[in-house]
């Protein structure tokens, strides 16, 4: 194993800087950095120290309970888990193809989630960094500061998210942790009144989403030196793509490209995911490291999420988002963009696409239909894959003849980005930490790099854009040299 800066040759001779906990990540994570006496960086690791255990305690439970139970993995994007599990269990109940109403209602729920999650991440969590600067005044670098300096931007962030939550509420019954999808379909359609309430809002939601793309595009282009290089690393990337290679968050086949954009695999039925992806366990983190089997552990790791999806698809089916995608591709200059901060730009393109799809679906009469369920020949196993806000999400279940789950395997979006996030913070540490005193601004640079991926570790500590961080600089004898904390 020879990932640069992953493992120092002689850690016992080095000083250790720990950022513990890194927050705005679901559960707990920490960053450790090992430095020598000249403050040269020798080792950087993002450790996920959370323990969840969902794969284990789903075992022994009836399968129809699973979509509702597993969504508790997350409070930000529970719909992703709810739908990925439902898709896997559709196959178990023999529902190979849902009714048009059921599929469209699930799509509506999912795109509503995409909208709210992307809005939350961009406006509430990242806009303070992007609008004020990474090491700007910490007392202002939060959503309250944004609300004071850019009240219209902050207000739109809140209202965009609220709209997405309303879409989820009318399709799932609750804004967070609803029950809309069941194996074989959904349990409710929209009433005319519910649809009309959303229709009143959707046109300015689309417009605001367009303006959000333009905002991040402007910010990015104003400082290309920073935005094109901060935390940069080159990697493979993967997502599902829909029919004709369209950007599709709900369903499709697996496609992967290398760092130059050349296809590694395409059109892969995700039921076969285990033939293409393997997960490695490393002793220093509870989060696994997935990689493409064909390329091996060292060359096969990849990134997922908006930056991967927008560059992996052939086109986007909705006009405004497709226009913005082309702008982005033009800016990238014909080869894939790998800069982590470009995640923000592509995330806003996706938010715009989600808003446009919601508009289309709200005009589709199928979402008022009561033809909601199908069943077929019972199967013992199913895999459900969905593009969650943060990337490709795999749910895989085996169910016995008594309807009880006997095996569950989940590869969550952030797990796919594990190596990628480590590489980004290593780049940032090398560039900004080397030989310097630990400052709050430095801490935020590391957070900015992690934040770009919007890791789905974030639900625990979304506190007005501030990660509660503790950093200690300890000398080779274990003595505290310098400590900084932010709560």
């Amino acid at each position: 194993m020879s990932f640069q800066l992953e493992t120092a040759a002689h850690p016992e001779r080095l000083r250790r800087v720990a950022i513990d906990p890194v927050s705005r990540v679901e559960g707990h994570g920490k960053v450790t950095i090992l430095l020598d006496n000249q403050n040269k960086v020798h080792q950087v690791r993002l450790h996920i120290v959370e323990f969840r255990g969902f794969e284990k305690f789903i075992q022994g439970r009836p399968y129809w309970e699973v979509p509702v139970m597993v969504q508790r993995l997350c409070g930000i994007c529970p719909v992703s888990h709810h739908l990925a599990a439902s898709k896997a269990l559709d196959l178990v109940v023999g529902a190979k193809k849902l009714t048009p109403a059921a599929e469209k209602l699930r799509r509506l729920m999912h795109y509503g989630q995409m909208l709210q999650s992307h809005a939350l991440h961009f406006f509430h969590l990242c806009s303070p960094d992007l609008l004020f600067g990474f090491d700007s005044d910490v007392t202002r670098r939060n959503i309250v500061g944004v609300a004071a300096a850019h009240p219209e931007t902050a207000k739109r962030g809140v209202l965009l998210r609220k709209f997405g939550q309303e879409v989820i509420r009318v399709t799932a019954g609750k804004r967070v942790h609803g029950t809309g999808a069941v194996p074989g379909g959904v349990n409710k359609s929209l009433t005319i009144a519910e649809r009309d309430e959303l229709l009143k809002e959707i046109y300015h939601i689309v417009q605001w989403s367009r303006e959000a793309v333009h905002l991040i595009q402007k910010v990015h282009m104003q400082d290309p030196g920073l935005y094109n290089s901060f935390g940069i690393f080159r990697s493979n990337f993967m997502s599902i793509v829909g029919n004709n290679g369209d950007l599709d968050f709900y369903h499709g086949s697996l496609r992967a490209r290398d760092d130059n954009g050349t296809l590694i695999f395409d059109g892969v039925d995700y039921q076969q995911y285990a033939k293409y992806i393997e997960e490695e366990v490393r002793p220093w983190s509870y989060m696994k490291f997935p990689f493409f089997r064909a390329l091996g552990r060292e060359k096969g790791w990849y990134k997922v999420g908006p930056l991967a999806r927008v560059q992996n698809c052939n086109q986007i089916s909705t006009p405004f988002a497709e226009h913005e995608r082309k702008e982005f591709v033009d800016y990238a200059g014909g080869s894939p963009m790998h800069a982590p901060l470009a995640y923000h730009w592509t995330r806003m393109i996706e938010m715009l696409h989600a808003a446009e799809v919601i508009k289309e679906l709200l005009h589709d009469p199928d979402i008022l239909s009561n033809d909601l369920m199908v069943h077929g020949e019972r199967q013992m196993e199913g895999v459900g894959v969905i593009e969650a806000p943060r990337g490709t999400l795999f749910h895989h279940y085996q169910v016995d003849e008594n309807d009880v789950v006997t095996m569950a395997n989940l590869i969550v979006s952030t797990t796919n980005n594990n190596q990628a996030m480590n590489e980004a913070i290593r780049h940032v540490a090398r560039r900004y930490l080397n030989g310097r005193e630990v400052t709050e601004g430095l801490l935020n640079h590391i957070e900015v790099a992690i934040r770009a991926f919007d890791p789905c570790l974030s639900c625990a500590t979304h506190a007005l854009g501030k990660m509660p961080l503790e950093v200690e600089l300890v000398d080779a004898e274990g003595g505290l040299v310098h400590a900084l904390s932010r709560s």
Partner: protein
Amino acid sequence: MSQSFVLDGKGIPFEDGQTILQAAGNAGVFIPHLCFHPEFKPHGSCKLCTVKVNGRHTASCTMRAMPGMVVESNTEELNGERRALTQMLFVEGNHFCPSCEKSGNCQLQATAYHLGMMSPHFDHFFPNRAVDASHPEFLLDFNRCILCSLCVRASRDVDGKNVFALSGRGIKTHLIVNAKSGRLADTDFSLADKAASVCPVGVILRKRQGFAVPIGERRFDKAPIEASAKEA
């Protein structure tokens, strides 16, 4: 119907043979209860319906109404005791409402809401209880049993089958299935049984039906449990 007693300062008429709980229900006054069911002989075991009659604690589901009784029910003291009993029921089993398909239709959950239970308060027992999924149409999730014995009474007294029983003593009391194997599949339990539809919590469940009813249309989404007083 000329007889009456006083419940929380209000006159409650009753007929001969009626219990305090029944008479209060007829008058639209809700007294929390879990093991009582209007179609079965009172059991008096959950103690949630405990009231004070002339200053003394008694189960209102078993105490016959008498003229001149002065009954206290909706008091801070009694509701506090009921809340503590409900909290004990929650911690003795594994009641995970967020992923329970009975959520919104569950009498225990609705009672907890009614009593303003904001936390389990006591340490969870986290008992290790496996589900019985052997029956083709029904699932038994023993994690949620509150030992109300309604299924025992329904199976014995209405269905004539004795499919269920309570076994063990004290804190070790638990619901069992009356078959050599202990499995529901090895009994003659069927969909038509009264016991199949009487469970107030999420133990006896029709398979493959979970979450079919959307949020907003479940029983206690429509009206809180206190609105069901007249069903007593």
